[in-house]
């Protein structure tokens, strides 16, 4: 009897589609916040960080506006620390610009239960009081456990709760694409 690994069910996004989606999201963020000053992007570690960097690059190419980018590690703000077996590895948060009067767009790869975003908002307000917080995700896969919605969604996907959405980005994974994966039974 062989041990089955996770099964790749479907490619949700190709490398090209990710690139196009980033440009569209950057356009939506700019349109939504038209006439507003003080836009900032904060990527949630790990894959939100390269996505935030790419969005900032796209905004620069469209409007020659330089948007500051920060990195947020949410592990210290998790709501399940007392139930996990071993502590998650904490990486540093780097937000080297003041948040007050900024419209902060939180960036993450997948929106699922909403708990990561809840933790990210708690983490963010410890750095200061932004004028507004908005949320941008590459994939919204449903199954929310908290009242949280994204302002900007790359692609909404209907999923089964046990399925996994794997976002692969060159900066971290050395390959590019979004996959729907079913865990081995």
């Amino acid at each position: 009897m062989s041990i089955m690994g996770p099964i790749e069910k479907e490619e949700l996004m190709s490398s090209d589609q990710i690139a196009r989606t980033i440009r569209r999201l950057a356009r939506e963020i700019l349109d939504h916040n038209r006439g507003q000053h003080g836009l900032a992007l904060v990527g949630i570690r790990r894959r939100g960080v390269p996505l935030a960097e790419r969005l900032a690059r796209a905004v620069w190419e469209m409007q020659a506006v330089k948007v500051p980018v920060g990195h947020l590690d949410i592990n210290l703000y998790r709501d399940d620390l007392s139930t996990v077996a071993t502590q998650p590895i904490v990486q540093s948060s780097e937000i080297d610009f003041p948040l007050s009067q900024k419209i902060v767009v939180l960036v993450d790869d997948v929106l699922f239960t909403g708990r990561t975003v809840r933790a990210a908002m708690d983490a963010l307000v410890d750095y200061g009081r932004p004028k507004a917080i908005q949320l941008c995700v590459l994939i919204d896969r449903g199954h929310r456990e908290l009242p949280i919605q994204a302002h900007f969604v790359g692609k909404a996907v209907e999923t089964d709760a046990v399925e996994m959405v794997e976002v692969r980005l060159n900066e971290i994974d050395c390959r590019e694409g979004v996959l729907l994966v079913e865990p081995a039974s």
Partner: protein
């Protein structure tokens, strides 16, 4: 955006990995450096680096250990270490309670185990203990269900000091591997020397310990790795020759029950660190001291306050290391780990 903005994902701040996967701490207590693996030491150092940023924020607090209780049980005088543990606990939102000998039942004759059992009844999550007897934390670990952190036991170990020293060195040197470290002073009474020899040995540094023969225990060269990376000498200039790091130890008058050297003046003459002596060390050598310093006994003021002194950096590293240790030992162990998704 700057290229360095994404560097931590691929570069130096990547979490330590063992055979591809991230390591977990997997230890309930921190009793000493001796039982720690290289991976565990690296995990503590990397976690401390990440947590350091919290102390630079306007609001120096994260909710991570909310509802956890940390008891600082100190049977020996301490300002630096106790305050450091207390601040570390508070920055992580844990409740910290300090108990020192003068204000406790210990003066009324209660034994260590009885004291611990009574504290245990109040359900603390961590007991940080400093005791004049080697092995006191190990005894508590055997009788209590709380996590035990050794904050110094007799002349045995002081693990968080060695960890904060390593973190401080890494602020100035790229790696511990191959580094030449001189540890000079009262080796016999020093738990700091022992923990540092063990840690630096595990991490591949080359350590020379130095002190008057009366303060150099026989067989000390067998501490840590058996590969001969530890050298022992009673000549200070030999220890300083080519050193990258010079660690001075305090002469612990309170632990010395007999005369180990004729006078403080003579000690300073042979083993006191001066600017002239430092010329034997590498030009970019850093000078460390676990504190409290005795000016004019083991270290001259010109050196303690000089440009190569990182003594105050050690104190700052201390809070970050103790935050990392509390965070890593405390975590619940009730259920298997599950990544927080979405």
């Amino acid at each position: 955006m700057s290229p360095e903005a994404i560097a931590p994902e691929s570069g130096a701040s990547t979490p330590p990995t063992s055979r591809g996967g991230p390591v977990s701490f997997n230890a309930k207590h921190l009793l000493g450096i001796e039982p720690l693996s290289v991976d565990q030491i690296q995990l503590i150092l990397e976690t401390a680096k990440s947590l350091r940023e919290i102390s630079t924020r306007p609001i120096k607090k994260v909710p991570t250990l909310r509802g956890k209780t940390v008891i600082n049980l100190f049977f020996e005088a301490s300002t630096r270490t106790r305050t450091s543990f207390e601040i570390a606990a508070k920055r992580l939102s844990a409740d910290a309670i300090n108990i020192s000998t003068s204000s406790s039942s210990i003066v009324k004759g209660e034994t260590l185990v009885d004291t611990a059992r009574n504290l245990e009844a109040m359900a603390p999550d961590v007991i940080v203990i400093r005791h004049s007897s080697a092995g006191a934390p190990h005894q508590l670990a055997g009788t209590c269900s709380a996590c035990i952190v050794n904050a110094g036991d007799g002349a045995h170990e002081h693990p968080t000091q060695a960890l904060l020293d390593a973190l401080t060195i890494l602020d100035h040197k790229p790696t511990l591997k191959g580094l030449r470290v001189a540890i000079i002073g009262d080796i016999a009474h020093s738990r700091v020397a022992r923990s540092n020899c063990l840690l630096l040995g595990k991490m591949g540094a080359r350590v020379t310990v130095c002190g008057p023969p009366t303060l150099l225990p026989v067989g000390f060269d067998r501490i840590g790795s058996a590969d001969g990376s530890l050298a022992v000498t009673d000549r200070m200039d030999d220890a300083l020759e080519g050193a990258d790091v010079v660690m001075m130890l305090r002469i612990q008058m309170e632990r010395q029950r007999e005369a180990f050297f004729p006078s403080v003046r003579e000690y300073f003459r042979y083993y006191g660190l001066t600017a002239r002596r430092m010329r034997s060390a590498k030009p970019d050598a850093i000078i460390m001291h676990p504190g409290p310093i005795n000016r004019g006994v083991e270290i001259a003021s010109e050196v303690a306050d000089g440009p190569y002194s990182v003594i105050l950096g050690q104190v700052a590293s201390g809070v970050a290391i103790r935050m990392a240790v509390l965070y890593l030992v405390i975590g619940g162990r009730e259920h298997p780990s599950r990544a927080l998704e979405g």
